[in-house]
Symmetry: C2
Amino acid sequence: MQPAMSRIPRAVRVVEVGPRDGLQNEQAVIPTAQKLEFLRLLSEAGLPVIEATSFVSPRAIPQLSDAEAVMAGLERFPHIDYPVLVPNMKGMQRALKAGVRSIAVFTAASESFTQHNINATIAESLANFQPVLALARQEGIPVRGYISTVFGCPYEGKIAVEKVLEVAQALLDMGVSELSLGDTIGVANPQQVYEVLDVLLETGGIPVERLAVHFHDTRGTALANVLLALQMGISTIDAAAGGLGGCPYAPGAAGNLATEDLLCMLHGMSISTGVELEKVIAAIDCIAPRLTHPPTSKYYLSACQTSTIIS
Amino acid sequence: MQPAMSRIPRAVRVVEVGPRDGLQNEQAVIPTAQKLEFLRLLSEAGLPVIEATSFVSPRAIPQLSDAEAVMAGLERFPHIDYPVLVPNMKGMQRALKAGVRSIAVFTAASESFTQHNINATIAESLANFQPVLALARQEGIPVRGYISTVFGCPYEGKIAVEKVLEVAQALLDMGVSELSLGDTIGVANPQQVYEVLDVLLETGGIPVERLAVHFHDTRGTALANVLLALQMGISTIDAAAGGLGGCPYAPGAAGNLATEDLLCMLHGMSISTGVELEKVIAAIDCIAPRLTHPPTSKYYLSACQTSTIIS
């Protein structure tokens, strides 16, 4: 009868990916000053990790071409980690010059996706990270590893969980400290989350503390997937304020799991996060008018009207 | 480690409440012919139970003032149950005259809500149902009992689970065959779903087959709540095509859990429903242009764009 409620962690570390993964997939190009205000408000909300930007090619992702300016203007709050995405050695060198002290690298569990996304095989993408990771180790910089398309690929469909485990172990062997398992196109369901996590944790023996989950809410299943992950002991969850990010494969559809939807559920379950939900809403209010569409999160859409009635 | 996946039922009975609970809470008044087409398309999709209309006062709910015409024009598919809501003896007599063979009654777990909603205490509302249930028994008509505000009330906030159990047992004692536990304002979280179901099933000894869950997706938690209910063995789940119903307390916010979001998750988890998801989408396409707002479901918003890419 007991559905593993006892394994649900009492505290969750929310990794805010709105300013990077979110804005990268929005059509709107946000002025640097507005991004800095967004980052400041997210910091005030108490989010423990805020992915600030990405040192990718400005031609590839013009939305984040101001990475240097963002890092220069960033008001760093104590005890908050501000990692950035780094795709290669060039990005790593730019990041170090900008004073970055925490980075993330990314690959995928699908060969077709990696080929389409970065024009390389998975093995080539891992090989490209070797010097980045060596430099990070030398500089004492922790590295998060993103694995995209863990639960499905827009080109290949379902991905073999053995492939996910193989990529996960390769990244850990290379010195990545945390893995974020991404449902890039929002197709995961709780049964699949159970199956993938079971293989990584039990077959692979990966310590649960080293795994984070990163769900997209394209089909509304993100919070159900989060619940299953919590029941498996996962306590690091990615989310984007306002559900920023859209879905590049379905214009108008929802993207990243919204931070406010996640917080609403976690706090309701008496799981602490250290984050103030209402201050996240304030951060969204600051960025929302600059987007080409209204935020997609259910909590945000209902928040203003119901706050006076429901205690 | 095993988060009770083994207790998840292999088949779920989806109770479609769009034509009644959905349309009752929409501003738009839909012409009878359009409702009949909506009902026909939902029947073609294979939904096993479709709540067709409500025999309430036409003054109270003008959206459903054509109950007699709907029942007269309804094309009944074999093996599909078409219950209607009945608020009192007058409604019951109208329903019987219209050839109804299955009904639902409703009360709430919150005294304040019942007072505001139907100007009666919970005890008075139950007493009012006595003759309705006696007549139903006499006619061999099964009765479903809705309990609103099980997980929270817009006036009282959280509701004591003992109160829910008391109302549930009173309805079962009166001869109701199935209880639908309603999260009327969409405030439930999975921890609370666990606590409420645990009391009803374990303390109350209510057989799991007699319980259904009815979640609103106001804050995006409906599918996570469904997952927890499935893990507790619940296999009857209410939903409304297109997420019809809005939220009367938050204009613009999401209402009932959308049938298509529910089906997408269940089918992904290899839980059979007998319902064809794409035919539900066709039913929504028929009603959507008549609404005052676009459907709120994430699946519906993403469906058209991604169907060509994702197999």
